[in-house]
Amino acid sequence: MSTTEIPDAPHENACTFLTRMIQTLPIEQQPAFYSALMECSDSLRTDSKRLMAIMDAPTSSPGDKGRAWHKMLDQLRLLPDTEGRYGMDLAQSESGAAERFPALQAEVEKMDSQEAQFADRLRQIMKDKHITQKQLAARVECTQPAISQMLNRKCRPQRSTLEKIATALQVDIRELWPDIDVVDYLDSIAAFEQDGQVMSEAMAKALRDDQQPRSTIKGKTLPSRKDRVRSDE
């Protein structure tokens, strides 16, 4: 155990992500986190600082921040597996953590949007099946840049596109996007936002209805936190 240097305590302004993640730990584990950070070896502390820098960097993606956080817990030996072993790989440690810290596991799973997870799955399936972006684009009758955007997590495919991709790759659609209900709902919202569609008679009747009393609720605007922070500075 090293006693040479006590690291700076993470503070709210500089490390809001880290602070939030510490708060997701069970309350009895939070002191253990700080203790481990203060009492670890110099090399681990240096590595922890590097991981904190990733968590703090505005350029880090949410996924990278999440992985950095998980890696830090792992190397501080706060994620033992079910047999008490340490230093397992990330997949193993996540599995062990799920049993010890269900709340943390839920957080880890939520690091990435379903859209991002889809991109990872698609990339892996394409790699396994040795299919290029151009080949996939030809099979689903879209452009290569459209496939590239999906792989780079820049757009959500509609269900119809997912079906075409699944057919082209000869996989079940749920292998690409397990929570397909979410796609259906988001497609509905995106469709509602399309200009130029003709409303149904029932909808038109409802919108021309003047029987519904006018609401007396005028709402209430909320103050801006950014303005408040600026004025405090």
Partner: protein, 175 residues
């Protein structure tokens, strides 16, 4: 000012880092509310002119988000003329804050609804031909959401469903 006062700021891509761990819960409606803001749904909607706000506590914790948009639909034929609709595409509250705080006067969901209605009225007021109704679509199985909207004078439109069987609700805006 109460410690439960929410703050609203326009959502930008830079705010996405603050959404790590944000989850509206594991119900079906919770999952799509989460995905809309974490995925590209919110940004796509903003590209179509929707305003999206992120709601935070005074300490900066993200409580939820809300949105108001406009879309040009057409009346049924033979009229076929364009009409602009004002609607709430999506709102979501992190599950940690569901039902919080206990004081109904400061309940986060109500502060968010008040803000969205105020913004809808403001947007409507800027129009030459203001609309009568503010709309939203809701999962008919999401009773908690429907009750919240009814508390704010939204009514379910009978016989109208949209997309994947979603119900449509309307609120006749105050003058």
């Amino acid at each position: 000012m109460s410690e439960f006062q929410l703050y609203a700021d326009a959502f930008t891509k830079a705010d996405q880092d603050d959404l790590v761990g944000f989850s509206c819960g594991e119900t079906k409606s919770g999952r799509y509310c989460t995905e809309w803001i974490l995925g590209s749904g919110a940004v796509d909607s903003m590209n179509r002119g929707t305003s999206v706000w992120l709601y935070r506590t005074s300490a900066g914790q993200v409580v939820g988000y809300g949105s108001v948009g406009v879309v040009n639909w057409r009346w049924p034929l033979p009229d076929g003329k364009y009409t602009r609709l004002l609607y709430i595409p999506m709102l979501g509250i992190d599950q940690k804050f569901h039902g919080q705080p206990p004081d109904p006067d400061w309940r986060y969901s109500r502060q968010i609804m008040q803000q969205l209605i105020a913004e809808a009225i403001r947007i409507n007021g800027e129009r030459k031909n203001p609309v009568e109704y503010l709309l939203l679509v809701v999962d008919p199985g999401n009773e908690a959401a429907i009750q919240l909207y009814q508390r704010f004078d939204f009514e379910l439109i009978p016989d109208v469903t949209y997309g994947a069987g979603l119900s449509v609700m309307k609120h006749r805006l105050a003058k």
